[in-house]
Amino acid sequence: MGAALLFKARLCLNVLSHKSGIINQGKICARTMCTKGNKPGERKSSPRKTDKTIRQTESFKVRQMPSFPTSVFAAGNAKRTTELLKRKTTLPSLEQEDAAWDQPRRRGFKTDGLVAPERPLSPTEWKKLKEAPCSPERFDVHMMTLLFKTGAELDIAKSLLTFVALDTGTMSYQLLLQYLTLCVKGGHNAEALDCYQIMRGAFPALETGASSLFIKAFSRTQSWREALPILREMKKVISPSPRNYSDIISGALLHGDSATAWQLYDEVMEEGMSPLPDTWRALFEGGARGGEGEEGNFSRAEYGERLLGVLGYMRDNQVYPQQSLADAIKTWFQSLPGHHWRGEWTTVTPKGVCKCCGSELESIQLTPEEYQHLKDRVMADIIQGKDVFHKTTPEELESFKAFVQGKPLFDVVVDGLNVANIVKGRQSEMLLAVVCELEQQGLTALVLGRKHMLRPSVAWDRRNMGLIQKKAHCFFTENTSEDDPFLLYATLHSGNHCRFMSRDLMRDHKACLPDALTRRLFFKWQRGHQLVIHGTVTVGRRVHFQMISPYDTIVQSTGASWHIPYDDSIDRSSYEVPQSWLCLTNKH
């Protein structure tokens, strides 16, 4: 009974706070209310559970909410939030405008006066069309564009070409190129090959567009080997795109020449390009077919080794496969003879246990070497960078270093301005609420801010600021300095257990790091150490934090099992990680 009363009171409060303007990031807020409304009991119990696990692993606790799917790093979160905010702010009139924008805009060729014919026309009819008053200057090219746009039949295009050939005695390269595009799009490969013979004969060379189209067309047919010299020719002037390679590789695999395919794949890697997902898919599908065709091909085992290498590449470069590629991977594993691989689409519990096979996933914590490397790089590249004056001054940096040295190791470093600005106008109250929460949990906190916060104002109440300085260690940077680099420094300096609290995704700081490896390390560390406030902050009530995922979202293997996170939707932003997994287990 009492619980029900409490729950009602809480709901009322919630509504009140909502009305009075404490509105946090739309979706998150809505979600909180939703869980509160439906399962009030669960909310209380689940953070405690997670507390326990964290205590087990790390010997200190921060009360957190179950992370998924509301974590800032969960796939699709950013998109949902922006959509919600957009819906909130957009006026109906603007929506109409949007609708007008959505309509396809005409670009390039004007095909206003032209109407594409329904059937192949005779030269005489074409001539009539051409001499019509509304027809544009370069009738043939415009008409071919129109045919391409409307997805007309190939025969109509052919009749147009015939007309042009008879009318002028020759054809422009552009027209043939457009015709070729039409052929390749429609999958008329034989026609494209004919076109190849003609264009080779009529023109001294091919440009890159035509070469790419021919490569695509050839790769689909028996004579896919013809594409190789075209590729070599392209290489003279430009480096072919991963798409070109992908076309030939899939062509080669389709016709059972895995040796050439892998050779080309190696070439792509040597060039420093990242292969397309389609390439990988073709490779896995080729593996699943088990093409033991020609001489000099890889044996099944060797092929398998190489595919595992591909998975290793995905792991090293933090690549998350699309659904279709994940499908191919699953099929390949299941097709392996002599093993009994079983693949399942699954998710992972917040604690990092695979729901399918029950095994625990890799931890998100960095190894000591990785941690040290990251610490050095952050100091050198993010804080100092090319010019110390960019983000701070040397004197300030030194004084901050001395400050950190003189204090005990922190448990949480708070980005004061970021946390405070959740609610405009009462910044100091918000900050105080968060600091009180941390103090109650018995954590050593450092609050970073700028000096202007110490100037008393409505937003920065003198009493509140005094309390904050009593309850936590504080460092205020110059108003002209950035505070995020100090945040990163203090957190990394305090050791692996230290977290930082900010809603900032630190993307601009991540971009300062020079190499991809360090950026990945930074991202991994960030996911494991960033505390984000969950829901709204109300004075006098407990503050909740989104849970930090204890496991790493990356392709991983224990030998007897593989866990591959994959994209099941296209909503994922680059700084988010997928939530769905492919679990592969080898049962003997």
């Binding site: 192949p120 026309l121 005779s122 030269p123 005489t124 009819e125 090219v141 025969d155 052919k158 009749s159 070409l161 015939t162 042009v164 050939a165 008879l166 009318d167 005695g169 020759t170 054809m171 422009s172 390269y173 552009q174 190129l177 004919d194 013979q197 003609i198 004969g201 009529a202 023109f203 001294p204 060379a205 091919l206 440009e207 890159t208 567009g209 035509a210 003279k236 002037v237 430009i238 480096s239 795109s241 010019d387 004056f389 960019h390 983000k391 001054t393 108003n479 002209t480």
Partner: protein, 481 residues
């Protein structure tokens, strides 16, 4: 030769077939029988027949026969090409690149008609396809501009010659004098006025520093852009009522910035320019407490324009915004910083708040002249913002600009009268002032800020402006003589 021949054959055949269809009594032109004309052609084509339908593959045979005709020519050509390409590896790449360009042109891409060897070399060195395409597009647009200019010039010349031919010859071979009740105002008189004002600004005017130390942070393209903008800055300043004394600080004598400036102006004109250039830093030229660095990253807002300060503008063009660069420099030198009150006056929520250098000097000249941010910020491009906030006029009180005060009480400064008396109206005096070198007048800051001098009587002023408006193709004063 063969190609011509074959083309003729086909055209001829085509005509005959068309005329053939027309003579048919059936009347409807596209009767199936009409297309049997293709059969005539197909006798020499290699394609198999498709029955009585329209021969869709006829174009192939046309193109193929063309190819066959070309082959005899092609053999010779290939041999020539081989001779070329065996020279070296790089030569081969250049030939291939040139070929690619020509094919892209045929494919209807934006590519220049003519391309020099040097451009091909640059093109071949570019690593990606998109960078190549961008470079070619740039070349094509430049070529278009050049072509247009040339056409314009030729048209003009033709018109001039025509008008000369039309009018009756006078004894001195000159066009007849125009009859006007207004005294003609000559361009070089205006130039002298500008020169005079410039010289006055160099002696008594408020300094404005352009910090030219950002060469290392700019790409060659950006450097070229910033040099163009600096030219515009100088010309704007020269034409102003009350010009600034421009200081180009940190201008290294052998740096790319100075080289380009000298190249664009011409060495003579550069030497005669009424500005101060120095390789020294601005903090060495002016006392630190008078300098205010104008940078978009500053936390301070420039609310009132102070004529006793020396404002510093970073002469940099950054196409991809390098935020905090000039601010970092100002911090390093411990200078005061300020940013324009854009947020206070303009509804400007979306888009980068960047301004070009010439917009900057227009704003600064206007705020100095009028003291009203409303008028000054009118030089911010309209497309970038959604207009001014209403009622901002009341906010910008207390302007300290010199012009108003000076106009109200011209007797306050004796040199003011002297200045206007010496103004070279039509008399051709003051020409010697043009020779004032930039080196002698560098220490203007030591004097107190003096009220700006150059005054124009209202009648004359309107007249000069009129002449300025009507004659847009006037050459700059420094290029005359």
């Amino acid at each position: 030769m063969m190609r011509l021949f074959s083309r003729r054959v086909y055209v001829e055949l085509w005509r005959r077939s068309v005329s053939g269809t027309r003579t048919f009594p059936t009347g409807h032109v596209f009767s199936p029988r009409g297309f049997s004309s293709g059969c005539l052609l197909r006798t020499d084509a290699t394609q198999p027949d498709h029955g009585d339908k329209i021969d869709l593959d006829l174009w192939k045979s046309v193109m193929r026969s063309q190819t066959a005709a070309d082959e005899s020519l092609g053999d010779d050509r290939e041999q020539v090409k081989k001779g070329d390409s065996t020279d070296s590896q790089s030569g081969c790449v250049l030939v291939a690149t040139r070929e690619l360009v020509s094919m892209w042109r045929q494919a209807g891409k934006l590519v220049p008609d003519k391309i020099t060897d040097q451009d091909v070399q640059t093109l071949a060195e570019l690593s990606t396809k998109s960078s190549k395409k961008k470079y070619l597009k740039y070349l094509a647009i430049r070529e278009g501009h050049k072509k247009k200019d040339k056409e314009k010039r030729e048209k003009k010349r033709a018109e001039r010659e025509q008008s000369l031919a039309e009018c009756p010859e006078t004894e001195n071979n000159r066009p007849p004098l125009k009859n006007s009740f207004l005294m003609q105002y000559r361009d070089h008189w205006l130039d002298r006025l500008f020169g005079w004002r410039g010289a006055q600004a160099m002696r008594f005017g408020q300094p404005l520093v352009f910090d030219m130390s950002y060469e290392a942070h700019m790409s060659p393209q950006e450097l070229a852009n910033s040099v163009s903008q600096m030219l515009e800055v100088e010309s704007c300043n020269r034409r102003a009522h009350d010009p600034f004394h421009l200081h180009f600080c940190n201008l290294q004598p052998d740096g790319g910035y100075r080289q380009q400036l000298v190249k664009r102006y011409g060495a003579d004109a550069w030497d005669r320019l009424l500005i101060t250039e120095t390789p020294r830093r601005h903090v060495d030229v002016f006392p630190r407490e008078r300098l205010v660095y104008l940078t978009a990253d500053s936390p301070n807002i420039l609310r009132t324009f102070d004529p006793s300060k020396v404002y510093v503008v970073g002469a940099m063009v950054d196409r991809s915004i390098q935020s905090g660069l000039s601010f970092a420099n100002a911090k390093r030198l411990q200078l005061a910083t300020a940013r324009l009150p854009l947020d206070q006056f303009l509804r400007w929520e979306i888009g980068a708040k960047t301004l070009t250098l010439d917009q900057m000097i227009r704003i600064l000249l206007a705020i100095k002249d009028t003291g009203s941010w409303e008028q000054a910020l009118a030089f911010v491009p309209k497309r970038k913002h959604d207009g001014f906030y209403p009622g901002t006029q009341q906010r910008d009180g207390g302007s300290t600009a010199g012009r108003d005060r000076g106009d109200r009480d011209p007797r306050r400064d004796p040199r003011d009268r002297q200045g206007s008396a010496r103004e070279p109206w039509g008399a051709g005096r003051g020409g010697q002032d043009r020779g004032v070198t930039s080196k002698g007048v560098g220490l203007a800051w030591e004097r107190e800020y003096k009220l700006p001098l150059a005054r124009i009587r209202p009648t004359q002023k309107s007249k000069t402006e009129e002449s300025r408006r009507t004659d847009k193709t006037r050459t700059p004063w420094h290029q005359q003589d």
